[in-house]
Amino acid sequence: MAITFKQVEFTYQPGTPFETKALTDINVTIPDGSYTALIGHTGSGKSTLLQHLDALLKPTSGTVTIGDRVITPTTSNKDLKRLRQHVGIVFQFPESQLFEETVAKDIAFGPQNFGASEADALKLAAKMLTLVGLDADLLQRSPFDLSGGQMRRVAIAGVLAMQPKVLVLDEPTAGLDPQGRLEMMDMFARLRHEQQLTIVLVTHQMDDVANYANNVIVMDHGRVVKTGTPQAIFKDPQWLAEHHLGLPKTTAFAQQLIARGMTFDEMPLTEDQLAAALVKQLPTSVLGGGDHDE
């Protein structure tokens, strides 16, 4: 499902002294099947934009087209359910949305709201729990007895259980342990391939952008300031710094190599790309010598 923003503006609490303009003239498309990373300095409007993907917020002016539904400032709040079934949002710190007596019931809550039978929903819950890397014997536990990281996974399972076509993730791994982060991110990427999902990821981790995304939207002060492939975005470190953004670790390392006189045809974003680029530049005699470490 593609999502298109046309001249979208959004203002919080319009007509009061607390009026904040959060989005200005947004024109952007999230292509069907893409893995889109949404990056930007804190307060740049990422979370506000996300809430438009599910019609939780409606534009103050302009239109948002989600699949074949068009959301305008006057769209009624009724009848948005079908839309919300297709777009699953994992909010920042989603563990705060848990409320049921057991983990199984909480995960089954979404599917049941969208019309699944209790038995089907519970079956789905068991499947999703393993998918997010938790043990099946947690199913009958209270979600409030779990550790923070486990709660996070249960909340994510609750969104996955809705089987959305578009999965929206607002910093899903913030505060998780490094191993858990890696597992989570790999799981999302795997799901995308298996189920042809469209993923929208908000993150401050440039490494995640480099490793997983194929499309990047950069926001600053409520505007979209650049869109493109990760390659195109990370080409210009100076521009990134101006917008309070960093580089992926690998790219930063490559930049240091460049400063010492090395050149790359294409900026390496991941470790694999960097390794390949370096191997290409090594004199053949060294490669023949064999005794180099990785």
Partner: protein, 266 residues
């Protein structure tokens, strides 16, 4: 939702009224409610309205906030006014009579007066809350409750509870909004369907709110203990209330207003 809850929220400003001592503002607001009952004819009401509107003008807050302050209470006000018109003792010309219901000139005039009283009280208390940060207000209450310490009333604790409660109102509202959105995204329809469905929709909102409030309370208590909080007795203050010349002048103005009212009343 947030925008609807805006009444009574502090609106930063730089006016004379904003800079008044919160104790003066609080006391004078109560005093004003008292002297409204001196008024009993149209010159006195005109004077009170002129005074209130002048105070509002001085504060520099938009008129619409005050009108909006009246709106949620309009049905209560109209109900009281209608009761007053229909059932007050007859006097003057009688326009309509049916059983115990009488519409008389006296009743109509009284109805209008009651309406005016409501509006004046709402305007003045709205002015108080719009121009005073909640924490200053709770400092003022703490100060004014101080005499109750003689009877071992826990003034510091009550004041602390009050300021913590006030401090967390906006946080709780943000939290509510966030959890509502998260549950909406999981297919909950708030405010739709019959009353039973609506009650059921509240559960996924209330439980997370309670859980997070208890967690926050616990964190706050731990943080306070970690920083050595041991009760309010003898603590020095960060915000110190200061009585200025303008507060004295405001008090004098109210005294003059009272004299004028007594002089003008029938």
């Amino acid at each position: 939702m947030m925008s609807k809850m805006i009444f009574g929220r502090y609106i930063p400003g730089n006016s004379l009224i904003h800079h008044m001592d919160p104790r003066a503002k609080l006391l004078l607001s109560f005093y004003f409610i008292g002297i409204i009952f001196i008024a009993n004819n149209w010159p006195t009401y005109v004077l009170l309205f002129a005074f209130t509107l002048l105070a509002i003008k001085l504060s520099g807050v938009k008129w619409s906030f005050f009108i909006n302050g009246v709106k949620p209470l309009i049905w209560l006000i109209l109900f009281t006014v209608v009761l007053q018109i229909l059932f007050s003792a007859s006097g003057g010309q009688v326009y309509f009579q049916w059983g115990i219901i009488t519409i008389s000139q006296f009743g109509l005039v009284n109805g209008v007066y009651i309406f005016c009283r409501f509006v004046l009280i709402i305007f003045m208390s709205t002015l108080l809350t719009l121009t005073t940060p909640p924490l200053e207000l709770s400092d003022a209450i703490e100060y004014l409750l101080m005499p109750l310490k003689v009877v071992h009333f826990p003034v510091y604790e009550v004041a602390l509870m009050l300021s913590i409660a006030l401090r967390f109102v906006p946080t709780l509202m943000d939290e509510t909004e966030k959890i509502m959105n998260a549950q909406r995204a999981r297919g909950v329809d708030f405010g739709e369907g019959n009353i039973f469905q609506q009650m059921r929709a509240i559960v996924p909102l209330l439980i997370p709110l309670f859980v997070s409030s208890f967690n926050r309370a616990e964190d706050l208590a731990t943080a306070m203990e970690a920083r050595g909080y041991q009760g309010g007795e003898g603590r020095s203050k960060y915000r110190i209330l200061k009585w200025h010349g303008r507060d004295t002048w405001a008090t004098v103005t109210f005294a003059v207003l009272t004299v004028a009212l007594v002089y003008l009343r029938a």
